[in-house]
């Protein structure tokens, strides 16, 4: 292994990106925390309409999700269509361990319960994040377990099945053998405020919450990059490109695939915890198939396997989804006097995006060099024929 030169350039460019990411986060934080309250009204409304901090914080959660899925789909090449299950599981871990929900138990482990709600389980937020990650990792293994020996398309289907079952369990979970496990479709609200070494982030302290989820997303970006260049990451890429060849080279298929499921699930779990803290609760209705597909679209749009591509894909799609579609719609309707309901085109947008990307730019907008090679490996017959005719005409 003497190809240190490209690895070096990759690392230095990563440092630049990390600097950029920190810069963007710092800009939004400082802007919202210190400058905007003093700024003239016009700038204030512009920012709140187009780049509201709540949607920015949600975008960070989407980045976490997309990077988690990227480990499964982009790195290891296993299609997962039920990623929303991990989001739900992570969210409910936060709901269970940081709220007065289990009123029968009273357990406080460095937690920060609200006054008058000391019953229930209250863990410290770090512990909840760790437990959320571990819990979803275990579920990743449980979901991956029966499926990893299957063909790729069956695998997609089983993950989709789990992606439907787990949220449904959450919706129906108000009465499992007489025990209220998930509080049904009402969800679990009233999560504890985060207490970081005495500094309490209140329910409406959006800038601080934004900073917190940004840190989480930044950590996920860091780990994604480091993992990819490591031994495990290279094993994933090898499996993605040719399973048989990889196993001949001594890559343990099962263990490596399990690892991709478990580690990919952690992204969803931690994102789920972060989202639960962000909105102050966890609500079962949110977790549906569309979410899984949107996360997949983020990975596909940016370029499967490429961390920065996925981040850009997540930012663009999440922004379009939360504010872009509405704001652009308003802008168009106001300027041209039309009355088009832009958000109702969400399905068309995401559907067409997936189809067109697959047809014309399978490697994504910011492709990884290797995946471009693999995706363009085989040409269709028409293309082959046209190539031949091109050569013949020359």
């Amino acid at each position: 292994m003497s190809n240190t030169a490209p690895a070096h350039t990759a690392a230095s460019s990563n440092k630049k990106w990390a600097l950029g990411f920190t810069g963007v986060v710092a800009f939004f934080f400082i802007m919202n925390k210190f400058i905007l309250p003093e700024a003239p009204r016009g700038i204030q409304t512009f920012f709140n309409n187009w780049f509201s901090l709540t949607s920015m914080a949600e975008i960070m959660i989407w980045i976490l999700m997309a990077l988690g899925l990227n480990i499964i789909v982009g790195y290891a090449g296993l299609l997962d269509l039920g990623y929303v299950a991990f989001w739900a599981l992570g969210g409910y871990v936060a709901g269970w361990l940081m709220s007065p929900f289990f009123s029968g138990i009273s357990l406080n482990f460095f937690g920060n319960p609200r006054e008058g709600f000391e019953f229930g389980i209250h863990f410290h937020v770090f512990l909840v994040l760790i437990l959320g990650g571990v819990f979803t990792a275990i579920w990743g293994i449980i979901i991956g377990g029966p499926t990893l020996r299957l063909k790729s398309d069956y695998l997609a289907l089983v993950t989709l099945g789990f992606g439907e079952i787990i949220p449904q369990f959450m919706i129906n979970g108000a009465d499992i053998g007489g025990v209220n496990v998930t509080n049904g479709s009402q969800g679990i609200g009233g999560l504890d405020d985060v207490n970081l070494f005495g500094y309490v982030i209140g329910t409406f302290a959006i800038p601080e919450k934004f900073l917190m989820v940004s840190l989480m997303a930044g950590a996920m970006i860091f780990f994604s990059i480091r993992l990819r260049d490591g031994r495990l990451g290279r094993a994933w890429l090898a499996i993605r490109e040719d399973e048989l060849a990889a196993s001949m080279m001594g890559v343990p298929l099962w263990r490596t695939k399990f690892a991709s499921y478990a580690i990919g699930a952690v992204g969803g779990g931690i994102g789920g915890v972060g989202f639960a803290i962000l909105v102050g609760g966890v609500y079962a209705d949110r977790f549906n198939f569309v979410i899984s597909i949107i996360i997949l679209a983020m990975v596909v749009l940016g370029g499967m396997g490429n961390v920065w591509g996925v981040v850009v894909g997540a930012v663009v799609l999440a922004w379009i989804n939360s504010v872009g579609l509405i704001q652009v719609g308003n802008l168009v309707n106001n300027t041209f006097g039309t009355d088009i309901n832009f958000p109702s085109y969400q399905f068309l947008l995401f559907g067409l995006l997936l189809v067109l990307m697959m047809l014309f730019r399978r490697e994504g907008f910011i492709p990884e060099a290797r995946i471009r090679m693999v995706m363009d490996e085989e040409k269709t017959e028409e293309e082959k024929v046209s190539d031949e005719t091109k050569i013949a005409s020359k």
Partner: protein
């Protein structure tokens, strides 16, 4: 390293995990049989009633499952858009029969219109499915598997959007032309709707089986499914054959759509996702790629769902979907090849 004598089958090792898997499978089946037996002895009449309802739904599932199984059999693609094609069929039949032709109550002319619109809906389904194949899947036939699969998911979203724009986001009530009367047979109430479903779906299934098994086109389909290059060498137009398969699958989905709209009396834009998954589970249960398997799987899933929803002792309707998906996952663990299929092996 001694050479392994060819032709001598080596004894399969019995590993503890294989025993565990087998034992747990037997346990699950035993629980299911016990549950059904308990309900049968508890209230035989209700059991029979629920069985009839289950058959009713099961036949519709079978029609949709056929489309999955045909397409999977020929190009190894899980056509996620198929469930939404079924939904579009239902919406189309609602728009034409109920709205445009105004057939909203049972009468002789309306029955004739129903048959006419049944044909139209089948044509519509075939047309949409063939266009999807032509526009999207054909270009991706030699691409890595992830690509057509993601395309199919995208197509499913596009079709859902069409349905959403067509009838809106709320479920729409359909004034059905089928009579809501029923008769009683040995204490079991059987609606005329059920009879009509039987009368339409069973001949359709027979015609489909005939096309695939007996006609020249059908033989070409089976040959293409086995080996595309070899069948091309034998003078089969592979593209045309695949188009034909998509047309048949689409027609079956269209027929299922109109039957669904007429029997349940509601149409919604998100109908296709859930039903598509149920139907796909049916196809897998029967052994994907196997026509009779799809029919058998559809009926079994219909029955299981109906038992789950309708029996006095059982989890109840809110677990209905969970039940179906659990079956899907269990199948993948125990018998990925399905009931009638061969054990699927990863092709290298």
């Amino acid at each position: 390293m001694t050479t392994v004598a060819s032709g001598v089958a080596r004894k399969k090792k019995v590993t503890p995990s294989a025993i565990l898997i087998r034992a747990s499978m037997i346990f699950i089946i035993a629980v299911a049989v016990y549950w059904l037996g308990l309900n049968l002895t508890n209230d035989p009449r209700q059991f029979a009633q629920v069985t009839v309802n289950g058959l009713n739904n099961g036949l519709l599932y079978a029609l949709i499952a056929l489309g999955y199984t045909l397409v999977y059999g020929i190009i190894e693609l899980i056509n996620f858009a198929h469930g939404d094609l079924f939904m579009l069929g239902a919406v189309f039949s609602f728009a034409v029969l109920t709205e445009f032709l105004g057939a909203q109550s049972p009468s002789a002319t309306n029955y004739a219109l129903l048959l006419l619109v049944l044909l139209l809906t089948m044509l519509f389904g075939a047309f949409v499915n063939v266009s999807i194949e032509r526009l999207a899947y054909r270009k991706l036939r030699n691409a890595p598997k992830l690509a057509p699969l993601i395309t199919a998911v995208g197509m499913s979203f596009v079709l859902q959007w069409v349905g959403l724009k067509w009838i809106g986001s709320n479920p729409v009530n359909v004034n059905t032309v089928l009579p809501s009367t029923s008769f009683e047979l040995a204490g079991v109430v059987i609606g005329f709707k059920t009879v009509i479903i039987f009368a339409i779906t069973i001949p359709l299934l027979i015609v489909l089986a005939y096309i695939v098994n007996k006609t020249k086109r059908g033989r070409a389909m089976r040959a293409t499914a086995q080996d595309k290059d070899a069948s091309r060498l034998m003078g089969i137009d592979v593209n045309k054959t695949i188009t034909f398969t998509f047309a048949i699958a689409g027609a079956a989905a269209g027929a299922a759509g109109i039957m669904w709209a007429q029997t349940t009396g509601t149409v919604a834009y998100n109908l296709g996702f859930q039903l598509g998954l149920i139907a796909f589970t049916s196809a897998v249960l029967g052994g994907v790629g196997n026509l009779y398997g799809a029919v058998l799987g559809g009926i079994i899933i219909g029955l299981i769902q109906s038992y789950n929803d309708g029996l006095a002792i059982g989890p109840g309707q809110r677990w209905s979907q969970t039940m179906v998906f659990t079956i899907l996952i269990l199948l993948m663990v125990y018998r990925p090849g399905g009931l009638l299929g061969e054990t699927a092996q990863e092709k290298v």
